[in-house]
């Protein structure tokens, strides 16, 4: 029934490319436009006494790039480094300022095109994640992919509230 509903709406809206990636076993996606590049994990230098979701800084061809453990951001267990782990270099907008940040993810799945009309409102009650992090969801075959609002997720302004969020989440567990 849902798929029928979706097909009716494909009339308007623009088509964009999206990149999907995995955190633990869940699928997420963000617009390709926001991704500058995808890196293998280099040596990460931890900055002392920083919040745990800030993994450290890396050398991105001469520039210093902060790297975030996306899993911790979403209240999951810290990332485990495997051969598939990689860093998405994201260009995000915070307070009308563009900054670059690296996001650690478990693996990158694919790039696909999607009409923005196909993005459905995420049911507010059903999500485990903060509502403003999630822009919506899309259905692919039998599973859902979360479309993230990355400007919100990685905005550095949110530092305190994120750590609260992480704390309460871990307490819940």
């Amino acid at each position: 029934m849902k798929s029928e509903h979706m097909n009716e709406n494909v009339v308007n809206g623009e088509t964009k490319s999206f990149l999907s990636f995995k955190l633990d076993s869940e699928n997420f996606t963000i617009p390709v436009m926001k991704i500058m590049e995808i890196l293998e994990v280099p040596k990460i230098t931890k900055v002392p006494q920083s919040p745990n979701f800030l993994v450290g800084v890396i050398n991105l061809r001469g520039a210093v790039l902060p790297v975030i453990d996306t899993r911790i951001k979403f209240g999951m267990t810290p990332i485990e480094f495997t051969i598939n782990t990689c860093i998405l270099v994201l260009s995000i907008e915070v307070n009308e300022e563009v900054i670059e940040v690296g996001a650690l993810v478990d693996s990158v799945s694919e790039v696909f095109e999607l009409n923005t009309n196909e993005i459905k409102q995420a049911p507010t009650l059903a999500t485990r994640y903060r509502a403003d992090y999630v822009q919506g969801m899309i259905q692919e075959n039998d599973h859902f992919i979360m479309v993230l609002n990355i400007d919100k997720v990685f905005s550095s302004n949110d530092l305190e509230s994120i750590s609260e969020f992480v704390d309460t989440d871990s307490e819940n567990k």
């Binding site: 040596k43 230098t45 002392p48 800030l54 520039a63 210093v64 902060p66 940040v101 550095s156």
Partner: protein, 702 residues
């Protein structure tokens, strides 16, 4: 068109800045010809530029001003204080009207008319008494005697007639050397002549048959020219005649006349020469009298303007700072990449590659030095701005001030200079206002009437020091102390050093009003001065003696982006400690630190508190190594030890920001990329020490 206008304004601003500094130095040395020339040239260029853009009002205005300086330049007028004041007022006015070129603002219009009136007054005053000057010129041309003994510095053209006697060469004299010597004195035109030989039998190869007419344009006196020939006098006929005209040598008619005689046995006829010079000279005069209405002159002006801008283009070009930043980034990347190439080469040892890698290393190092050098600007640019400030402020305060600058060639990062201008301006104002006494009071104290404010910049290590020294009344420690007590900054029984007491001046809310006289001014207090300077990672110290003067010393890093650091390792993470704070390094056994409750180590018989970085940064409690390195750093007056696992060596670090995410970790002031591509974090020892002392306090409380 808008773009063109922007270019014009930018150039005009530059010219005006140039003009201001020349005018101010002219004030100190009213007779300095080169400055008058400079003022004239700048005005001329400005006039040319303005008429090129069709800004007739500005062009006319500058033209009138220029006329005054042209006359001064020609010696027809004396530079007076009134003229200078009007010129400076005109300068201010020009600053306004280059934007409002059509004088739409009524106040601008009013000023404009008033200034033009003043300028015309000056020009007329001078033409009212032209008799003497005209006379002297007449005399200069006809009765050459008058000029001959004059030792004045003006540029003159000398005609040197030099005829060696036939036996001149016999004693080894070389006439060409003499001519070369003359040529060094200025612009020269040398015309050789040969004596006619009656028959080939008369020819003796050892005889000198050449003689010369030399025209030299120089500001040397006749005596200097005579000196050249001092050893040749007995063996040659030498006649030296001065003429007043300056650009005779480049005059076409004159050249034609003298060149006709070249290589011929014709002496220049003195009478003919004089009349020619007189004729030509008048034309030169007319050409120099700028009549802007005539099209040819406007062209002339444009031409000169063009030539001068062309010269500027060669000496410097404007580059946007964004481009420079980008260049710096690329160079840093190159250096990093090159370091990994070297590393790769060391592992693989290919001889061909080694040569290439070494060359690249050399090139990239030079490139780095040049790129970093480009962002440095001589501090002079800023100093010249203060000249004007000092002049105006001291006038309004009725104080006589001599403003001295020293070390203007010291170079600093451009961004530092920009941030520094306001604080320095405030300090100088303070010195003038509160520091220096009125001339009468100074005399009563046996000091020279004229007070001195000295601005001095110099390098020391990787820091730049800027001092503002005045010989005014100084700051009374006791007054400050009382004030500090009444404000509650210190207790009456606190024992503080003089330096610490002076430091209260920088406390917010510590008004110096009671300490010294009236105004303070623009809402920038000394606390803001101090804050601005700390933002630049600099520091400021006051030193003062009553009735002797006050010295403020500002210490700044050479550049915000490169620092000399000590590369160390803590728990396998690299850190950089700025070398500027490092005092001494010690090796200490770990057992001395563990369980050391008062956090003190005895080093060189001194008790020094230490910070265990391992613990403070939350790494596992000290590794199994037996000893650690203690780096003693100085932080204002304290000396504190910082323990690290090992010291790797000195490292020149390009400091990069680590970003907003780490704004709560401000004890790390940045990061730098090492040769192998890994990252070292740069410690801000001042913040670390503060953090540590706060920690300690909390621990005691809990």
């Amino acid at each position: 068109m808008e773009e063109m206008k922007a270019t014009y304004i930018q150039e005009a601003n530059e010219l005006l800045e140039n003009l201001e500094s020349s005018l101010l130095s002219l004030e100190d040395n009213p007779n300095d010809k080169s400055n008058i020339e400079q003022v004239f040239r700048v005005m001329h260029t400005l006039k040319g530029n303005s008429s090129m853009f069709g800004l007739a009002k500005i062009a006319e205005f500058v033209h009138d001003l220029e006329t005054i300086y042209d006359k001064i330049r020609q010696g027809e007028m004396q530079l007076t204080r009134e003229i200078l004041n009007t010129t400076l007022a005109s300068f201010d006015h020009l600053n306004l009207i280059i934007i409002d070129s059509e004088l739409e603002d009524p106040t601008n219009k009013e000023n404009h008319d008033q200034l033009i009136y003043q300028i015309h007054q000056f020009i007329q005053k001078k033409s009212a008494a032209p008799a003497t000057t005209e006379n002297s010129q007449q005399q200069a041309v006809n009765g050459l005697e008058h000029v001959q003994d004059e030792e004045e510095n003006g540029v003159k053209t000398y005609h040197v007639y030099f005829e060696p006697k036939p036996e001149f060469l016999l004693d080894g004299s070389n006439p060409l050397l003499l001519l070369a010597e003359i040529a060094q004195l200025g612009k020269t035109l040398i015309i050789p002549h040969f004596k006619k030989l009656e028959s080939i039998d008369d020819f003796k190869p050892t005889n000198c048959v050449t003689y010369w007419d030399v025209f030299v344009e120089t500001n040397c006196s006749k005596a200097t020219l005579n000196e050249v020939f001092v050893f040749a006098e007995s063996n040659a006929i030498i006649e030296i005649t001065p003429y007043l005209y300056t650009d005779l040598i480049s005059n076409g008619e004159f050249l034609e006349f003298v060149q006709a005689t070249i290589f011929k046995d014709v002496k220049l006829d003195a009478a003919e020469l004089t009349s020619l010079i007189e004729r030509v000279g008048k034309k030169v005069e007319i050409l120099q009298q700028p009549a802007v209405k005539s099209a040819s002159d406007a062209n002339e002006a444009l031409k000169t303007a063009k030539v001068e801008t062309k010269e500027k283009v060669v000496s410097s070009i404007r580059v946007s700072s964004d481009k420079l930043d980008e260049l710096m980034n690329l160079v840093s990347e190159l250096v990093t990449t090159q370091a990994s190439l070297t590393l790769y080469n060391q592992k693989n040892e290919t001889p061909e590659l080694e040569i290439i890698s070494e060359n690249i290393e050399k090139l990239s190092r030079r490139l780095r030095d040049i790129a970093f050098g480009m962002t440095l600007v001589p501090i002079n640019n800023m100093f010249s701005r203060f000249q004007r400030l000092v002049r105006d402020v001291s006038m309004s305060l009725n104080k006589e001030v001599q403003f001295v600058t020293e070390g203007g060639e010291t170079e600093l990062d451009k961004s530092i200079i920009e941030t520094l201008t306001d604080p320095l301006m405030h300090i100088i104002r303070n010195s003038l206002d509160h520091g220096l006494e009125l001339p009468e009071n100074r005399e009563a104290l046996d000091k020279p009437r004229k007070g001195t404010v000295k601005l001095k910049a110099f390098y020391s290590g990787i820091s730049v020091y800027i001092q503002i020294i005045d010989d005014g009344k100084g700051i009374d420690v006791d007054v400050i102390r009382e004030k500090a007590i009444s404000k509650g900054f210190m207790k009456p029984d606190d024992v503080l050093s003089e330096k610490e007491i002076f430091d209260f001046i920088f406390y917010p809310g510590f008004s110096t009003a009671a300490v010294v006289t009236d105004i303070s001014g623009r809402g920038v207090g000394m606390d803001v001065v101090k804050r601005n300077i700390s933002e630049l990672k600099g520091s400021i110290i006051v030193d003062s003696k009553v009735n002797i003067g006050t010295t403020l010393t500002i210490k700044l890093p050479l550049s915000l982006s490169i620092i000399d650091g000590l590369l160390v390792e803590v728990a396998n993470v690299f850190y950089i400690i700025p070398l500027s704070v490092v005092d001494k390094c010690y090796e200490v056994e770990n057992k001395e630190m563990i369980g050391n409750f008062n956090q003190l180590l005895v080093l060189d018989n001194q008790q020094i508190p230490f910070i265990n970085i391992h613990k403070e940064f939350g790494y596992d409690e000290i590794s199994d190594a037996e000893s650690s390195q203690i780096i003693v750093v100085s932080d204002s007056d304290r000396r504190v030890g910082i323990s690290v696992d090992c010291i790797i060596g000195e490292y020149q670090a390009v400091v990069k920001p680590i970003g907003k995410y780490y704004r709560n970790q401000d004890f790390i002031s940045g990061a730098t990329i090492l040769g192998d591509g890994s990252i070292a974090l740069v410690m801000d020892t001042h913040k670390i020490i503060d953090l540590y002392t706060e920690h300690a306090k909390v621990e005691i409380r809990s």
